[in-house]
Every structure is written in C-alpha cells, then in structure tokens.
Amino acid sequence: MSLPDPPSTPPSGDSPWQPPPGPGWQQQPPPGPPSELARDAEWRRLDLRMLLVHPVNELVRFFPLLIALFLFGSSDDGGVWHYIGVAVPIAIGVVRFATTRFRITPGQIELRRGLLSQSTLTAPLDRVRTVELTASPIHRLLALEKVEIGTGSAGRGSDGRVVLDALGAAEARRLRHELLLRRPGQAESGAGAADPGTQATPAAFAPAPVLLRFDPAWARFAPLTGSGLLIALAGLAASGQFVGNEIAGAIADSGVDRRLASIPLLVLSRQQR
C-alpha cells in the first residue's frame, strides 16, 4: 500500500475526533512493521503461539469426557486410554492451527479452514464494517488478540464473519487500523486517484482519543438503578431480620418480656372504666 504525498495542510473541519497535528500525523508509514494489507497473495497462518492455545481450548472442551475417562477407565489397561484421551484433543488443536490460513489481497480477504470439510470465505475489503479485537485470559498471557472482521452480512451465527483466532497483539491492531481506515475503492483506483480533499487516512497510528475514563465516584449512583435498589432492599431486609432476631433473643434472655406482659392488661382495664 503506497500512500500519496500528504497534503500540506491537515484536513480542515471542526470534527472533535481529529488528532492534533504533530509528529507522526499524516506522514509516510514508519519504516518499522510492514503494512498488514500489503502482504499480497501469500497465504498466512495465524500466530504460531496459537499452537499453545488451541490444544488447551480443545482439552477444556473435552474436559467432561476426560473426567469420565480418568474416573472410570482406571482399571487394568486404563493407562493407554488416558494417553489417547489427552492426545486426541491436542491433535485436534494442532490440526485446527495447521489447516487455517488467510490472505489479504488488495481487494479482498480470504479465510480457509478445515481438514475434512473445508470452507473458503471471501469478503471484499470494501464490505468490512467492524473489526473487533478480543483477548481471553490465555490470549492475553501470550500477547495474542482475536480479530473478528464483520461485514454487513445478516448471516446467522458465524455465517459471513471472518474470524482470525488469533494474531499477535501488535499485528492485530495494525490490521484493524488498516482495515478501518482504508479508503473506499482503494483497490481499483490505486493510490494516485485518492482525492486529497477527502483523504483521511493517517498513515501513522494516532492514538485513539480517550472518550471517558471510569471514575470510582460513579459507584454511589449504582443504588439508583432498579436492580441496585432491589439489592439494597434485600440487604436491608436480611440485616433487619438478623438484628430483629438478636433483639428478640436479648429480650428473652433479660426477662423483660414477662414484666411487660402485664402492661396491656393495665391499659385494657383503664379503658373499661
């Protein structure tokens, strides 16, 4: 991906989201990592670290079966089955890694999956609407991020969703930036045809502006919600019951109740007069 010369003045406009002009804004890409969209036509695998993640995921998925195997298979020759029970999920994880490939050509993204039943998913880059990065704890431990590329397709479930599980965190973020900041029609028109007036692709990744940070003081508004109120009332009721029981016990211990028992009689007798 080669970009045209940056315009001499940053695009004018009163959008509050514009990063401040400064070093790194609208310059040629830094010479460091190559563009994720530029690695044409070569099939790539997911990050090699997924060799650690997939087998663990499969083991977790097979966990109930493994429990059963280890509980009931511990007779004479159960040892072999224990090994098989662990080896099969690991093998499935390795095969999953080995059979998943993707590539990003100038115009589209392709994802291939499967050993026995195979599928090739193709989506034009113009259709990309959302790019979602997620990382489970095990992903975070290995500095990986899962990239889900959503198009406008109304498919059910995973239909028409390109899921790259997973790429290295830096690579995933670069890919996200480049997919989202790509100019429409770039593939056909080439770099020269881009209109400088509408050019809005920062080559360097300007850090996203922080919209809002969590403030612990917000916690005091929590009881104002319906569920918060309900929980507060439940807590009040529970503590009330507990305190009430304590008081009742204390009264019973002190013997006040027996002395008080005569008072209503007195009151009644006065009223009768």
Binding site: S117, G152, S153, G155
Partner: protein
C-alpha cells in the same frame, strides 16, 4: 408482462447421489429410533402400517433426489445472482451483485468424495444467505472467482 424465468444452470448430476445417501441415512435413523421405541413400549402396530411407512420412506429416498435435481438451479449474471431451490416448496432468490457481502465455498467431508461443493453468498438481507448446493467443485471455484470479482468491482459496503 413476462413471467420470471428459471435460473439457467442445473447443479451437478452427482448431487443426486449425495441427496440419496442423505435421504437413506435419515430414513434409516427414523426406523432405528421408531422400532426400539415401539418395541420397548409394547405398542401393537399392525404390519400394514409398517409396510406403508416403509413404502413412503423408500419412495422418498428414490423420488426426492431426482425431483430435487430438476428444481435446484442457479445463475450468475453481471447484475445479480439468482437461485432456485426446494422440493415440495420452491424458493427463488435474487441478490444484486452490489449487495453481496461475503462468498463462502464449502466442501463437506462426504461432498469431497463426490467432488461436490456448496457456495453460500451472504447479503445484508434479513432473509439470510443464498446457498447453492451440489455444485461440481470446478464449477463452484469458477463461480466463487466470478462472484468475488464482480462483488469487488462494486465499491461501498453494500447495504
């Protein structure tokens, strides 16, 4: 007013074999469940009923695939992709090329034995994706290539 014509192309003749196998497997499963259930509950089903059920199942396995083969059709032209599918109820769907979101080529494990593939074209429509089953693998590859080339030529996010 001219009536809507059928899509131009039939699917691969080998798709009939695949559908027959699928139908036979479903019917075997049906009997594999029905017979123990009836036997365990001690129900007294008269033998003509069994005979009728078996005849229906056999007719389904023998007739459905060739009938389905005549219904399933597809066509991909410059402006749109057009499919017709079904058996008892027939559905025709047309998706403009400018609305194509993703193109998915799938080969099931059994489909690979017969060199068959399925192409799924998703759009932003709430009616779900268009699916063409039982295509010859080479034809499917050509169709995917054509669809992606045409979809890519249409810029924008296609919604």
């Amino acid at each position: 007013m001219t009536a809507l014509r059928e899509p131009a192309h039939l699917v691969s003749p080998r798709a009939r074999v695949l559908w027959t196998l699928g139908a036979a497997a479903r019917m075997l499963l049906l009997f594999a469940i029905a017979i123990p259930v009836v036997w365990l509950n001690g129900l007294d089903v008269p033998w003509p009923a069994w005979l009728a059920l078996a005849a229906l199942a056999l007719a389904y396995v023998l007739v459905m695939p060739s009938y389905r083969y005549r219904v399933h059709r597809w066509e991909s032209t410059e402006p749109a992709v057009y499919t017709q599918a079904g058996w008892l109820s027939v559905e025709r769907r047309i998706a403009p090329m400018s609305r194509v979101q993703t193109v998915d080529l799938e080969q099931s494990a059994i489909g690979r034995l017969f060199d068959l593939a399925a192409v799924t074209v998703t759009t932003a429509s709430a009616a779900g994706p268009l699916r063409i089953e039982g295509l010859d693998h080479q034809v499917a590859l050509g169709l995917v290539e054509e669809l992606t080339r045409r979809a890519e030529a249409e810029t924008g996010d296609a919604t």
